[in-house]
Amino acid sequence: MGKPRVPNIKLGKGSKIKIGHSILQNQNKTWSETGDGFTYTDLVDRPDYYLGKFAKAFNVSYNTYEARKDKGLHIINPKEVKNPNETKPKVDISKWRERTRLKGELTGSILNPSYYDNFIDNEYKLAYFDPHAQQERISRPVKYYHTCEEIQYIIENDLVSGVSGYDVSSAGNIQFPQWGPYLIEARSTGEYSGIYIKPGTQTDPEFISGSIEGYNGDINDYSSHILRHYKTGSGLIQSDITFFEPRKDVFVNAGITVGIFDFNVGTYINRAQPVQFVSGWNGLRENDFFHRITGSFYDSPNCIMIPNKAYKVHVTHDINVDFDTSLDPEDTDKIIHATGARPHFNYQKAQTANIYPGNKIPQHFYAGPNDYTSEKYFQYGAPSGFFGHKYDSFKSIRIKNNPELKAFRIPIANENCAFKTLKSIEVTDCANLDYFWIHPNLTPVLQKLDFSGCNINFDNYHKYHEDQYENLKFVKLNQENPKINPSGALSIEGITQDVPDYARYSFYNGFETDTEKDRLQPKGCVYGPISNFKCKHLNFAGNNLNQTGVFALVANCVARQLEDGYLNVSDQTTRSGPQNAVFNGERADAYGGVKIGKHDQVLQDINNLVLTGITILRNKGWTVIYDGHGAEVDLGIGHKYKYGK
């Protein structure tokens, strides 16, 4: 006996009968109980009628309202809606907003993020007994999240190297390079006791610990040892989600998904285990549609449990109807009887929101004065550079007063350390830091950039502009689609700068991971250090910017069209000549009297251009601190300055 669902009956190809809205209605026939027969035609002519009757007779509920007003519109990304009937994607923000309104809002967070500091802060030391020197060597602190390559670096630099040394590799699973276990193998055959964990150096073995065990090798075999980490303690994880649910007719499930990394096997045994916090019909509590729910749970033994997303699921009710015979479109006169009905639930993931994306625990990185040393932070490029990390993730980076630091650079290879998580960078009073670059795609959520007291000069920018100074202009970046060339953008594709050796990063298997040149910006992005739309706090005071360096920052802020920001470009190291980053209305020929503009149509120079940019920013509520005066100078264009050509 067939049991198709009603009204979602599949009629097959070629059928002219439509479901949902009758073409030929037979209003005379009624149905009230199981004994009442009907035909296939009756059913497909009036599905809503029969559905209602079935539901009532068999006491099964279903949803009458389906939020499918924009059905047929396929959302490619949040700002782009494609109508499949059209050949090209069509941007339809109104449809997107409608969909957003129907889905509501959702945010998630961890209430006790300090719990995860236990994984980040704890450490231990490795040791090796040198048989020749008859002495024990002890390593620098080892973090439990170090990769095998970093552990090998520590062994080679602190304990033993060369033919007598050891190779370290992820033992087994190549997908998850952190947390262990690791395979430590001797480079030559023979009996070695190998590397061991120095007793008493594990900082909190009650919570997390490690051990090394294995095979000592023989004359024909290599010693092989396994370094394992154990999360020996337990902890309570508290999470919080808030959501706005506009639909009254849906049953809502909401909670978080948790990635579970098992230390024993070195892999995730579940990457998205749902933990449900709330389940119920919307609007039942507090008589409105905003909900805030806090949930907590204990982590599993020997596992890291990382809440990665908050989720909200709509559960709609449908009905499965049992018939006493099959529904046959070819036999429309056959009498059919409904014998029963059962509820059927449709689960649709309505929304998700990031908590710890990618199952990474983002850390607040801080290195105090003279604390950014190779001993502690070699994996990030210390002491001469900071390059991020391929597997570690940061919420904020603070490095203060470390004169050895010369470069701050995050290449695309280390995208995971910044993307979606990094909100603040404060590298201050590092007097020798002169190279700053972040791949433009890596900072979508960055809000604060503070490099005050460094030595940044943006040489690349003014070199470029000196060649094409007549093209200097403000551009307007398209926030809704940054890939589209901004209005008035220069033809700037492929502009690169050489990366000095101290700003290059090479780790992981000896592969070539870093590039020799940095793109100043991808095609279509505004020139300047930042291309995101959230960073409104830029402090480059006390650096080595010249006028075009300042212009790069001002133009960058103008192009992103944000409001109520903060820009500090004051107190730059004094330079001689027109490059001096002091701006006033009395100088109109910063380039030795050269009038900018191909046809001398506009008398503007870098000095006046910067002042114009400052005026534009102030009109948008920005606080701009710079050396000089005259921001209110009337250039004839003032705040009415038009972007680009």
């Binding site: 990769t147 699973n173 290599y222 024993n264 096997v265 045994i269 298997n509 991971t513």
Partner: protein
């Protein structure tokens, strides 16, 4: 609830001081037990051993496995021996653990390889005009098979029914299918390339993307060869990987392939010498449908400790090592078709 997990792992043989690679590797199986399950007895067993050299046209496998020390302890050490350069060995390892009340068991895949993994061709046979034709073909990129094993798939150990030719697409069918493709269709962008549209009885219908399971040139597996260096990737500026597969009119290069290749390069650099280079696979070969086992090859279960041969010693290669518990423990080395090709009936 009582349960335990076994990890599937990848190991590479050690480089020797003279630059060559060792022929063996020591393997540490990893198990994790639920809080309620604290086993006190363990029994590790090698269930299967498979190799990319097994029944290959140009290679023969001599690999065997042996536990160093007892196999009934919590953390045993398994040695996989006699690997040849380029050989990739898949070992199916089984653990039966008991806490006195309950006995649980699970299996995992251990992958071991020496040097640069090679794609090994094999012969496949098909009838044509009443005669038996032979083609030398490749199945799937070896890197894909290693990843499949690492993801714990059991497909690297095919059932016998999957390895006989009768249940598979023949090369003749496959080539005929290729000829029937509509090459004028624009398959870009890549995100939409999982399905194609085709005219059928005057109507345009969607059908699943072609399964290019068998290829005669191993380079067809890759978008830019097997290397990940910049020069190789840059060749994508001048050629389209689709042209490695289609035989008709050439299609123009697409920049998206270069971008994807650089992404692959950036993301496949895992730490540790156990890692392997995972090149960008040809986007026009269906990954999900690739035959990640070894078609046409013997699916014989290898010897285990309780089934003849030496203790805890397992050997692959040809039709040797068929379990004694089977109905028929003998198998001709050359069966119905040719060397290394067993049909279900013959074994």
């Amino acid at each position: 609830m009582k349960y335990f997990n076994l990890s599937s792992s990848i190991y590479k043989t050690r480089p020797k001081q003279d630059g060559s690679n060792e022929s063996f590797v020591n393997v540490f199986p990893f198990a994790s037990y639920s809080d309620s399950f604290k086993p006190n007895t363990f029994q590790w067993t090698v269930l299967n051993v498979n190799s990319n050299f097994k029944n290959s046209t140009f290679y023969k496998s001599y690999v065997n496995t042996k536990f160093i020390g007892p196999s009934n302890i919590k953390n045993p050490l398994l040695k996989i021996r006699r690997l040849q350069e380029g050989e990739v060995v898949f070992v199916q390892l089984h653990l039966e653990a008991s806490d006195g009340q309950d006995t649980l068991s699970k299996a995992c895949n251990i992958t071991a390889y020496r040097g640069d993994p090679v794609n090994s061709p094999f012969n496949i046979f098909y009838p044509k005009n009443g005669k038996l034709n032979m083609e030398t073909v490749y199945d799937a990129a070896i890197e894909m098979q290693m990843l499949t094993a690492n993801f714990d798939s059991k497909k690297v150990f095919p059932a016998i029914s999957e390895t006989v030719q009768g249940s598979k697409e023949t090369i003749g069918e496959h080539l005929a299918y290729l000829e029937g493709l509509d090459l004028e269709k624009d398959l870009s962008p890549l995100a939409n390339s999982k399905s194609q549209k085709k005219q059928l009885n005057g109507q345009e219908v969607k059908f699943e993307k072609v399964n290019f399971a068998f290829v005669k040139d191993e380079l067809a597996f890759y978008a830019h060869g097997r290397s990940l260096d910049n020069d190789s990737i840059d060749t994508l500026n001048f050629q389209n990987p689709r042209n490695f597969i289609y035989t008709k009119s050439e299609v123009k290069p697409e920049k998206i392939h270069v971008i994807k290749a650089y992404e692959t390069k950036r993301k496949s650099q895992h730490p540790g010498f156990n890692s392997f280079i995972n090149p960008m696979l040809n986007p026009y070969l269906t990954k999900g449908k690739a035959r990640v086992f070894f078609p046409g090859r013997s699916g014989h279960v290898a010897n285990t400790a309780n089934q003849g041969c030496s203790n805890n010693n397992t050997t692959t290669g040809g039709c040797q090592g068929y379990p004694a518990s089977s109905n028929n423990n003998t198998c001709a080395s050359n069966t119905t078709f040719s060397q290394g090709f067993c049909s279900e009936q013959s074994c």
